[in-house]
Amino acid sequence: MDLRVGEHPILGDMSRGRWVTIYVDGSPIPAQEGEPVAAALYAVGIRTTRLSRHLGEPRGPFCMIGRCTECAMTVDGKPNIRTCLLPVREGMRVETPKGVGS
């Protein structure tokens, strides 16, 4: 799935930076340097950013401005990082937290 807009009728080319690779639960995905990690995941159709604490239900980005914390993931070993605010850097390792990030 590719959800990138690419060429926008008003905003023009929506490329946001150099193409790099980041790893989501060990699998490589393409991402643009500087865009939020949550946007890079969404662009390739990864909408689940965590599993709920008790029932293990999928949760995904809800506010995209750092309020709701549904997109909090483990990044380079650090838990509870709001991926909608965190800019992509080459080689980042993003893990889907299962239950409470620790």
Binding site: L3, T48, R59, G60, L85, P87
Partner: protein, 358 residues
């Protein structure tokens, strides 16, 4: 643990239209201003607005929202305002200390004055399936598509026909998504006719008097269910991979409450907000409020309220005199009156009067 502690003349929390305008007015009066915002871009929610604003020249009519945000940021920088981005204000304590989590760690700031211009949160609604990936705020979808260039889905359903719902639906179409429909429980479309016309011209169906029943799907949204309010039990099912909620905004005024500002509940302005007067002073000395945090209206109003707050700060600090303040004040009040002139604005004005008079 002892944290680094710094002093400041004026701290503005929030680099949106209200905060930037407050900073600009105060800086023009030679007040030293620090603006703090948790985003990595300045401009607040202006940076996701790609439609042209209407209104007067003074509020950037004809320009797109993000252009207004860039201009205000540039003007602030020229006026000597320091804008600290990627910095979250964690707390505002009764001794007037702000705790900030910045790129280099957590620190305290003790300002002589503070303007709370933190904006608003999107309202949500709980219904079966609302936690599924693919259900998100309309503002979230707008950020995703207009700032990051990523669609929330290929087939999007919009709940809510206010201006945000209509504008975001149109912007999703512009970016190449299909908008399956727009639903509202009300009898009439909530937003301006000009925005409604745009989506209707594109053939997007609007379902009025329809209730959002559920979102269905396994790993994410696959369908949206509506109930026709006139035919009880008639549920319509729409195939969609994303559901946006445009259900209004609520002031984000927790910092004011934490600081000890008296709070009021005003449903027409979005919920709880700090008491304030026409000059944007709260009931706590040295604490001011502006923009959506002082009651949800629109960006042009936020800019005027921000200017007013900046002028009140400058006056209270002795950086300008009564006569200088009075001139600016009269201009701002005149423009605010104009902005709150229409039937929509009138409603807001009444609600605001209820706040001012107490």
């Amino acid at each position: 643990m002892s944290l680094k502690r710094t002093a400041a003349e004026l701290v503005v929390v929030g680099a949106g239209p209200a905060g930037l305008c407050a900073a600009l007015e105060a800086a023009r009066a030679d007040v030293k201003v620090v603006v703090i915002d948790e985003n990595h871009l300045s401009g607040g929610q202006l940076f996701k607005q790609i439609h042209r604003f209407f209104g007067s020249q003074h509020h950037g009519a004809g320009k797109r929202g993000f252009e207004i945000g860039e201009e205000l940021t540039e003007q602030c920088r020229k006026a000597g305002v320091e804008i600290r981005l990627s910095s979250t204000v964690l707390g505002f304590f009764p001794g007037s200390e702000l705790m900030v989590d910045g790129p280099d760690g957590v620190y305290l700031v003790e300002p002589e004055a503070a303007v709370i211009a933190t904006g608003a949160n999107e309202r949500s609604l709980a219904f079966p399936g609302w936690t599924l990936p693919g259900v998100m705020g309309a503002g979230a979808a707008q950020t995703l598509v207009n700032v990051h260039g990523v669609l929330p889905g290929k087939q999007v359903f919009m709940a809510g026909s206010g201006n945000v719902g209509l504008i975001v639906a149109y912007q999703l179409l512009q970016a190449g998504a299909e908008v399956v429909g727009i639903a509202d429980i009300a009898d009439r479309i909530g937003g301006y006719g000009v925005h409604a016309e745009r989506v209707r011209r594109e053939g997007v169906p609007v379902f009025l008097r329809h209730r959002l029943v559920a979102a269905e799907g396994k790993e994410g949204v696959q369908a949206v269910l509506l109930e026709d309010m006139d035919v009880k039990g008639r549920v319509k099912r729409f195939k969609a991979d994303s559901l946006c909620l445009a259900l209004g905004l609520t002031p984000m005024a927790e910092l004011a409450a934490m600081r000890g500002c008296g709070m009021a509940y005003q449903p027409d302005l979005g919920g709880f907000l700090p008491w304030h007067d026409q000059d944007m002073r709260t009931d706590q000395e040295g604490v001011y409020v502006a923009g959506d945090a002082a009651g949800v209206e629109e960006a042009s109003v936020a800019m005027e309220e921000g200017r007013m707050a900046g002028i009140s700060v400058a006056l209270d600090m002795g950086a300008i005199n009564q006569r200088q303040a009075g001139r600016h004040r009269a201009d701002i009040l005149r423009r605010l009156k104009g902005l709150r002139g229409g039937p929509y604005g009138q409603h807001k004005l009444e609600a605001k009067r209820g706040i001012f008079c107490q």
